[in-house]
Symmetry: C2
Subunit: 416 residues, 2 copies
């Protein structure tokens, strides 16, 4: 029998009524002849509640400083959220006449690394599951969790249920992995910015990865990487409406596409510039090493020659990280590992990107982008490009204008 | 190192502040030189919430009839409550500087029968625990749960955390099993009925068993049976006050005791009488077989000869069971398996009992009881006796009077 993985996120299983609604969708696919593995998240809000308790337990009122906590205990507590939903989903399916049982991570087992709180799946043993499928028993699997080499519960990090779903789809040889969520697919851009935004029928893995990492929070990045590696066909669709969703698939499955598939953005960016840095080998490593040691994620990096033997170094980062980045750089200057005349920070920028696998075979895409922005008076501060993406940093106040301008320029409202 | 089991019930771990309070008590015993195994219940109210969800999932609005549900899924859902508390308690202990880790039933493992929802502990493997104790790591164990022969989570039934605690105390060879709860010990009678009620320093297992089964809900009956079998010294004490509790122990450990240790009562009893039953062999079996088939618990039974070849049969039961009992008996009469002239039900009775191991070696205890009740004008309807207990059924309106009268008559306010 063909197999299907169906994953329901937190808002799709937020209460018993929604669990019943999700179960009815599962029943439909069972009636269509599939062996179904259902992956469930915790009821929405539950994970935050549990995480809050863990933090408060480790940092009681009056504690000296926010302390670290034992990630193994964090995992034991937080994994209980998916455990509850898995049991309730199995009961609800049974009530609808669908034979099903719940599986916790350690029961399958889903073997992971020992990195509690951010573990990676190493192996899914499917023998137990296969045997139960043969008995006609569909599977409800607690997402986001596994068991480490020490026999203790691990979790995969926030959003890990998407990763669980894709990993099971690969391990079970499922025909498709359907991700039910509170949006009904992947759009050419954020519909809150322009009503012209159009839902895509299909999108390539590479494009989805760029969109996900650019802040279009439909799928967790790691789950898309995994889907790409194992060629798992991923469908994103709404658990509240009966509408076709968006299929994330290999580009060979996509017959026709626009040169640009979508316009993504990231609102809360900042730009920092180190002015007049000594231009010598190893200086970039020293600067970004200092930032990396402070656990700061740097995104775009641009280096300009400014004067004889000196250079300006510009980079972008999340706006919240600016104070810590300033501190790290000043410390490095004091320690003598780097040297600069001045440090400028612009906390009011945003990033806008166009993404499309069609760019590989079309020229002039970047030029068209820059022209469109220029025509609308949007000044570009930093540019970076990759094979299937062009990103620009602009003043935050122009963000909505830029997105609409680019959506219009590439006529994304039209199907290919 | 000597070992100690400390069990905290739901009200003692109801929120993070109370968990901290409980953890401070654990730290004190660790500082006293004990290796401690902490057994935790779910936060109070949590189990009821989870059970409610399970029932609603199995019986959605509009379902035809209250359906049965899969007890294996019930267990997976409900066991999550103790899982959360165990993790939070371990984190809180760590924050206080006590090295500790959480253990779920399947991790220890606590092997149980396959009777999901009401499993019995068959074996506790302590090798893993012993190894961690040797590393200086104290144990926080999720109560109420284990793992069945099928590798799925089982629960022991309501109140099962007391049983978990006693079973661990036996398996670990603990010096004592301290049960922290919201009462500070076992009293000579309910202090709400008479302020003269006195907290007992010590009470024998057998007495505690009689008190527990008579409705003094301090300890779960099964946990006391287990403690008696393995000679586990049980201490009941308050988690909110620093007061000595009551030690439940072997009677050899009790030097001095009153003839009567306590007065127990059960308020919501009913009395039923079958008048003029054919007095032939097998008739009692037929009557109580019919009631047993209807899952009705009968408590006291009295048979009187009334006339030639006929007898009256009287028994007591929970008042809520009267309608179902009447129905079962009428059905049996219709079916011809039993025969009686009339069925009388008195739903307004209560049971009062005196309990004490001293009765074994003292005579005249029952007579003293009857005399005290008679002196206060309390009419006795039914009497039963056991080696260490005398119970009487009386009109419910006399309940408080009878308890006070007996407490006074046996001078229970005085220490032995």
């Amino acid at each position: 029998m063909p197999r299907l993985v169906m994953k329901f996120g937190g808002t799709s299983v937020a209460d018993l009524e929604r669990i019943r609604n999700a179960a009815a969708r599962v029943k439909r696919e069972v009636d269509n002849g599939y062996e179904v593995a259902v992956i469930v998240s915790a009821m929405s809000g539950k994970t935050n509640e549990l995480v809050g308790w863990v933090r408060d337990a480790a940092n009681p009122p009056g504690a000296n400083a926010p302390g670290l906590y034992d990630a193994r205990e964090y995992d034991a507590v937080v994994a209980s959220g998916e455990q509850v939903t898995a049991g309730l989903m199995a009961l609800t399916l049974q009530e609808l006449g669908v034979p099903a049982r719940s599986w916790l991570g350690w029961q399958v087992p889903v073997r992971t690394t020992n990195a509690h709180g951010a573990a990676r799946i190493e192996e899914i043993e499917t023998a137990n599951l296969d045997r139960k499928f043969d008995e006609g028993l569909h599977a409800v699997i607690a997402g986001f969790q596994g068991v480490g080499p020490d026999g203790r519960i691990t979790t995969l990090g926030r959003g890990g249920s998407d990763t669980t779903a894709v990993a099971f789809a690969a391990a079970l040889g499922a025909e498709r992995c359907d991700i039910y969520t509170d949006v009904d697919g992947v759009y050419t851009t954020d519909p809150r910015i322009t009503p012209k935004a159009r839902k895509l029928d299909r999108i390539a893995y590479e494009e989805m990865l760029e969109l996900a990492s650019l802040g279009a929070k439909v799928l967790q990045t790691r789950s898309v990487e995994l889907a790409m590696r194992y060629k798992v066909r991923l469908q994103v669709l709404s658990s509240f409406e009966d509408l076709p969703g968006t299929l994330v698939c290999d580009e060979e499955e996509i017959m026709e596409s626009n040169v640009v598939s979508g316009v993504a953005y990231s609102r809360d960016e900042a730009k920092m510039t180190l002015i007049s840095v000594a231009d010598r080998p190893g200086i970039a490593a020293a600067i970004f090493g200092a930032l990396s040691d402070a656990a700061i994620n740097v995104d775009m990096i641009v280096q300009n020659i400014s004067e004889e033997g000196r250079t300006d170094m510009t980079f972008s980062l999340a706006v919240d990280d600016v104070p810590r980045a300033s501190q790290a750089l000043e410390n490095a200057k004091t320690a003598g590992t780097i040297n600069y005349r001045e440090l400028e920070a612009d906390p009011d920028v945003a990033k806008v990107s166009i993404v499309g696998i069609g760019m590989r075979s079309h020229t002039g895409v970047a030029r068209k982008m820059f022209a469109a922005l220029a025509a609308d008076g949007v000044n570009i501060k930093v540019i970076t490009t990759s094979e299937i993406k062009v990103s620009v940093l602009i003043d935050r106040k122009y963000l909505e204008l830029a997105v609409q301008s680019l959506h219009d320029a590439f006529e994304l409202e039209k199907a290919p």
